[in-house]
Symmetry: C2
């Protein structure tokens, strides 16, 4: 780790400028967090104006010509000698972001912001009314604008590359597609076998009565125990759970409680806490600068999935936590063995809703969205034909279908908010999580023995050191390679799923 500042006045000016932009970006994050969690009902119109205004100021600062001048002066600086050093990465990434920002006409940026804002309102209504037609024109408009965005930015092979790059810098559509196809190739037969198996996990126990106060208590306890620091974070309730940060020591996660379902809030809280542990593990002295920012959405998701699934659904994790859970939920779990509970939380079954899907089928939900949004952006599918294409793929990959668009193509907020190219990062996260967990196991020894006794700090500290503190110095693929010694592939995830599911379902 090198010193943040240098004697180069251009570098200092650049860092100061970016840090000041960071004050606005983090303030905008508070406006949005508050909008989701605390804001009074009638305040939304003005809140939209505040956010839009701040977005304008931020874009103005990002495209400030002085940024280009500072970067030009720094082009041959010794600070860039090692491109993976803190200063090298800072200059390299700020240059990439600046060049991208100035390619985007301000009018397009604003039109996209407006289309996304209207889109979310229209999507909420359309989903409530189960009416795709009501959303179709706005959806078409959003995808058209995203196509214009892709053209403005430019791409190597297909327009979708430009959008994917926003969330997974340096990733190529063709490479991601290849990996996800290989995953699909092994996942579909595994899920089919599980479905055909005669064993059914006792999932009904998870739908007993779990009082919300106790759910909150257990979620808070577990998230704290795995390493989420509530001295620099908090947990609130929202309809759509998320993790956000509005400062180097201010990371906020949310969850939702259903008195009649255990897994939603518990694993949701672990998931968001995993994101939060990543944010809290970034180097605060580099806050808002590339070495202090998360690497990519795929890597971010790897951290949430690792804690949610690879740790949180592990037998050894529950050897430690189950007595606590039983004492909190005596009525629901008092008579349930640890083994039955473990099988229930790992049950696999095709279902319609992505956010409620199990660890295995989840990836098929993602692959469907990834294939569809690629087809639209690359001009092979019209948004008006989405409901049919959606159902066709659900039938083919998951063996299920629905006539309800509310639980079909309208179930996710992403497209309505202009987030295209975002979905595949969820599965990349699952893939990275498995590889990173295996690497941690190899280096740290018997993780299960640690989990059994509630020792999560060795894993968390290892992740802090090996993943979090690198920030954006390495790209996602570079980081994966360095941490795991291998390129990204579907193998670790498939092996992990098989090792867990084959014994449960007696395949």
């Amino acid at each position: 780790m090198s010193k943040v500042e240098s004697n180069d006045p251009n570098y200092s000016a650049l860092l100061e400028h970016v840090r000041e932009t960071g004050y606005l970006v983090s303030t905008a994050a508070l406006l949005e967090w508050d909008q989701q969690t605390k804001m009074p009902a009638l305040a939304s119109d003005y809140r939209c104006e505040q956010i839009t205004h701040l977005a304008g100021l931020i874009h103005q600062r990002k495209t400030d010509p002085r940024v280009g001048e500072w970067l030009d002066h720094l082009a041959d600086s010794p600070l860039t000698e090692d491109p993976l050093s803190d200063s090298g990465a800072t200059i390299r990434i700020l240059k990439r972001e600046y060049e991208k920002s100035v390619k985007l006409p301000a009018a397009l940026v604003m039109e996209l912001a407006r289309a996304a804002s209207i889109g979310q309102t229209k999507w909420v209504e359309a989903r409530r009314e189960n009416d795709f037609e009501a959303f179709a024109p706005q959806l078409k408009k959003i995808f058209e604008l995203k196509k214009s965005e892709a053209e403005a930015i430019g791409y190597a092979e297909v327009p979708y590359d430009a959008l994917l790059d926003e969330y997974e810098p340096g990733a190529k559509t063709s490479e991601v597609a290849e990996i996800l196809e290989a995953l699909r190739g092994e996942l579909v037969p595994l899920v089919t076998k599980i479905n055909e198996s005669s064993y059914r996990a006792p999932v009904d126990i998870l739908s007993r009565k779990f009082p919300v106060d106790q759910q909150r208590q257990l979620g808070r306890l577990a998230s704290e125990r795995i390493g989420f620091d509530y001295q620099q974070g908090r947990l609130d309730v929202t309809h759509h759970p998320f993790c956000t940060e509005m400062g180097p020591r201010d990371c906020r996660i949310t969850t939702r409680y259903d008195e009649n379902f255990f897994s939603g809030s518990f694993f949701g809280t672990l998931h968001e806490a995993g994101h939060g542990i990543y944010e809290q593990g970034l180097r605060s002295e580099y806050y808002s600068l590339p070495p202090g920012k998360f690497c990519s959405l795929g890597i971010h998701e790897s951290q949430s999935r690792l804690w949610e699934n690879l740790v949180g659904r592990r037998f050894s994790f529950w050897q430690y936590f189950y007595p606590e859970a039983q004492s909190l939920f005596q009525e629901a779990l008092g008579g349930v063995s640890l083994e039955d509970f473990y099988r229930a939380i790992n049950h696999v079954e095709p279902s319609l809703i992505r956010v409620e899907a199990d660890e295995a089928t989840y990836n098929l939900h993602i692959i469907i969205r990834f294939e569809l949004e690629q087809a639209i952006i690359n001009g092979e599918l019209d948004t008006d034909d989405l409901p049919e294409a959606w159902n066709e793929k659900y039938k083919r990959y998951l063996g299920i279908e629905t006539s309800e668009v509310a639980s079909g193509v309208l179930q996710d907020v992403h497209w309505s908010a202009g987030l295209v190219g975002y979905f595949p990062t969820y599965s990349l996260g699952n893939l990275y999580a498995s590889q990173i967990f295996d690497a941690a196991s190899a280096q740290l020894g018997n993780l299960d023995a640690m989990f059994q006794t509630g020792e999560f700090a060795p894993l968390k500290n290892w992740l802090n050191r090996e993943v979090h503190q690198l920030g954006q110095c390495l790209s996602g693929p570079q980081l994966g390679e360095q941490v795991t010694g291998n390129g990204l592939s579907h193998e670790a995830l498939m092996s992990h799923l098989q090792q867990k599911l084959v014994p449960i379902y007696g395949l």
Copy 2:
């Protein structure tokens, strides 16, 4: 009420500029609200940077030379013909604020923002540790900066004028001092007589057990019933209660609960709701412009005091609410007569803590602070000598003293937050409240008959029309004169206190 916009391009440009500044001002209010209510403990340093940066941007916009140019172009515009019209007031007040802003160096503005943000953190620690020395250097710094501010702005008679003018535009220290001295002259003998009286109100009933959930319920019910709209507001818990707004439909109040004390949260909630009703009663189409902003802090406080004391401690108010209170607090109040409860909530007795003081002695707490901060700003007292000066005055005016700085000079947040010149507006508020309530009574008829049946809308609507919707078109004294037909004096308040307290204490 006139149309907001006009055809004058300079006026339109000015309004747009001020509205955009309003996005930042209201965003800063959210940063501060969150700091008090929700922010994780370790986030305060960065929050301080965010607030400071935003304060800098706001100052930059307020002193933008274009504002001066637009105002110059508008100097002889027909829009200024009636100085009390919406456009006339807008131009007049924006001109006054611009001229004041350009006198303040940006560095001083930002230094003040930073000192206040640090000050609040240090104050919390120092108060917790009951340690004046730990806060003394920051307090001295804040007062030094406020002196610089006063010198930069300029003043007619004494430096304190410049600071008072920030909260009570147009008020002169000498005039306020004269009124408050007259008040003190009558208040001290009244309080002494009450202390010497043989009757003691049954105050112990207010220290029985009042479960927090029920306190929350009653506070919410009463605040809603008198007119605070929770569709455009919310109520949270903070150590130091306050009211703030971060948009035309986003007004937030706070309170604190003590299970063993009824009055704190109940009257605190009514008080903050009174502030909130004022904010919610402003004309939203003028949000962030002078006709849509509160007149002065004195007038603001008149609205909170009116609902807290003149309505909320009235016999007729409790004729309506007492059955509800009894049913919520059966154990504490089940056997207490309405008459005894009424006497208890109106009990007068010198005490150490301002925010817990009764309606009469409260003003002596204010007069002490007013005298002390004047002495510091005008160079007659050193901040290091504050604890002694504080105790000396408490002994003289209230007959009590304390060796604990936590319940003495460190009890209030104001000075730590750079709010100097603010305290007297609390007593101005009490004075205005009495005069305004008398005017409402004269115009609306038998208010007690309305309150007895839970009818608070006539009074609230009258205040909306006669006070709130005027915004800043009139100054505080002008508004007081227009609404009450009289200049400000101590007489209405003293008469109100005597009419209530003489029968209770049999004086």
